[in-house]
């Protein structure tokens, strides 16, 4: 019961945008789809939705090819936002609802409900072109959710939103997640992915780099990050081999421990050097994993 992307390949003339890519999205999960610019995220999403036909491979949802599922079972937020600039907000949303299979009455009702939810009630009869970028973005997001789709595919949904609206969208996504919807979204902001996703896939240059449960991925990366703060000789670490300074914060230093370095040994050395205030082994952040994995490939 899931979305299965199996061995898809998509070439554009002599460029291979996606190269034998496979991953699985569990039904009802919040799935983060990551990768640097030009990694093939948008192409993968387009292939998943059937906008582009893959040269090889297939995409299935609950065992059936994507195109067998009628209109309205998914909602798609493209990276390149697009709305009819001359249409009025409510009119536009009703239109989007209608092409996703809602009847007139339902489209109108859902439009009103979602405009309220996103605090856009007062702009309902303005033209799209009169709205701010952020509000246009919100209208577009509503357009993907209006028809109550089971599967949401959102390409960079947080791009261009201020912190208040980011929080609002996060809340809406978590709410949809609570209703059992499957949500796939791509993002550059690792903190957002880390905050709300259970599963991720990281791709680079059209190939899969990492895939699975976020917590397990982090665990498997090992507790190799050390946060240390001490009063005394703070440069003692220079003589310990395998200790690499990552960041120097105001109140602590962050190191990476090389393979085979015993944290206890480091602690001892630190205690000899002065008064240890903080000594903490932490999992790497998704940001660090991202940089490390993508950096490896480059």
């Amino acid at each position: 019961m899931s979305l299965v992307v199996a061995e898809i390949t998509k070439r554009f003339r002599d460029v291979t945008a996606v190269d034998h890519l496979s991953f699985t999205v569990r039904e009802g999960s919040l799935f983060g789809f990551l990768g640097p610019n030009g990694a093939g995220k948008t192409t993968t999403m387009r292939v998943t939705l059937g906008i582009l036909k893959p040269d090889e491979g297939s995409v299935t949802w609950q065992g059936r090819p994507m195109d067998r599922w009628g209109v309205g079972f998914y909602g798609y937020l493209p990276e390149e936002r697009g709305l009819y600039p001359k249409m009025r907000v409510a009119e536009h949303l009703e239109f989007l609802g209608r092409i996703h299979g809602l009847d007139k009455l339902k489209a109108r009702r859902e439009t009103a409900r979602w405009l309220d939810r996103f605090e856009l009630g007062q702009v309902r009869s303005k033209r799209i072109e009169e709205l701010s970028k952020g509000n246009q973005q919100k209208v577009q997001v509503i357009g993907t959710m209006l028809h109550d789709p089971q599967l949401l595919i959102l390409d960079e949904p947080f791009a261009g939103l201020d912190p208040v609206n980011t929080a609002l969208l996060k809340e809406v996504l978590l709410e949809a997640h609570g209703q059992g919807k499957t949500i796939i979204f791509s993002s550059h902001r690792m903190d957002q992915v880390e905050e709300i996703c259970q599963d991720i896939a990281l791709i680079n240059r059209g190939r899969l780099v990492l895939h699975g449960n976020l917590r397990e991925i982090k665990k498997s990366m090992g507790r190799q990050i050390l946060r240390l703060s001490l009063e005394g000789n703070s440069v003692f670490w220079a003589k310990i081999p395998g200790l690499q300074l990552l960041v120097e914060r105001a109140d602590y230093l962050e190191f990476r421990l090389a393979e085979g370095v015993d944290p206890n040994h480091v602690l001892k050395e630190a205690m000899d050097a002065g008064q240890v205030i903080r000594f903490e082994l932490v999992e790497p952040s998704l940001d660090q994993i991202f940089v490390e994995k993508v950096g490896e490939g480059a």
Binding site: G50, V71, Y74, Y76, E80, R98
Partner: protein
Amino acid sequence: MSVIPVLVKREFTSRVKGAAYILTTLIGVLVFVGLSFLPPIMERLSSTFVPKSIDLVVVDNDVESSVLPFLVELSQEREGLAIRDLSGWDERDAYRLVLDEQLAGLLLLDGPLATLVTPDSKNVVLNDEIRNLVSQAATRWKAAELGLTQAEIESLFHAVDFRIREVAPEQEDGTEVDHVAQTQATVLAYFLLFMIYMALIMYGNMVASGVAEEKSSRIMEVMVSTVKPVELMFGKIIGVGALGLVQFVIWISTGLLMAFMGRTGLMGVMFGMTEPLRALPLDSILWFGLFFVLGYFFYASIFAAAGALVSRVEEVSQVVSLLMMFIVVGFFAAYISFLNPNSSFAVTASLIPFTAPMVMFARIVLADPPLLQVAVSVVIMLGSIIIGTWVSSKIYRLGILLYGKRPSIRQVVQLLKG
């Protein structure tokens, strides 16, 4: 349920309320009303150029026989015409008098040769008026020499009353062609033909730029994830077509109303239709409807594909200019077919999908072509529409997500094969 009605409705309602649409409709109505009142207005305007009095100095070098006495005779009959006979004067002196007193001109006569000496050869109205006077006087002069009476002169100009009677091979007698009715049919055909031509260009362009707009505003991406490209294309074509139909019903009604009132305007001047339209030419209008729709669907699908190949609205005109050429050629083919609607040229042109909508329509209104030819033409059009929309929808499907550089023709062909 198909989404096409929803798409058509959006296309129609979002444009029909737009200022651009309302404005062009109104301007069109104004142009039609304006054009139909144009001839009387032009007449009034040009009449202000006609001089109320013509003061002409004549120097006649021929002593024996001359047009001069007849000019003098005319000047006695007509008000505002004065002839001063200064024969024997030096030409220079006579011309100086013309310049000093600002007279209409100096006319030098030498037997059958008449020369107007004037400081302003560009004053066409005045010079034509003088030419007319001289030739009228000349007719009288020659008639007098031959000893003809006024009645004999009249009969010289109206010797034969020419009529046309069309008799079909199987008919005994046939009917005499009503000249007025035929003129009206020609004028109407020309008017409606021009309407088809305008509609194809206007709405073809509207379809192409509409598609390009959707591409450049990236709404296309949302649309193609839910709507099939073919549905999207037909939604646009039908929506714009409905807009066009409404606009043209308004315009043609205006034109016909003016024609009923006898305001036949420029068409009347060009084709000699001066009487008010007698009856509503219902069958012509129905044929117009048919070929409007056929021609529109054929061209609109191609225009849609053209619009899908560009990524910015500004590039549309480059791509559609080629298509416009086809429409212009069709219009001229129909225009030539007017001269002989049953020529082999006209028959051929009425079977080629690019020219058929205009040529076949012109032929039907003018010439009653064999039913078989009409049927074949319509079938060819329908077939071309099916093939055209099929090919176009493939190009459309591939083109709408194609951004950046416009693909070459070879690439388009490759895409179609793939």
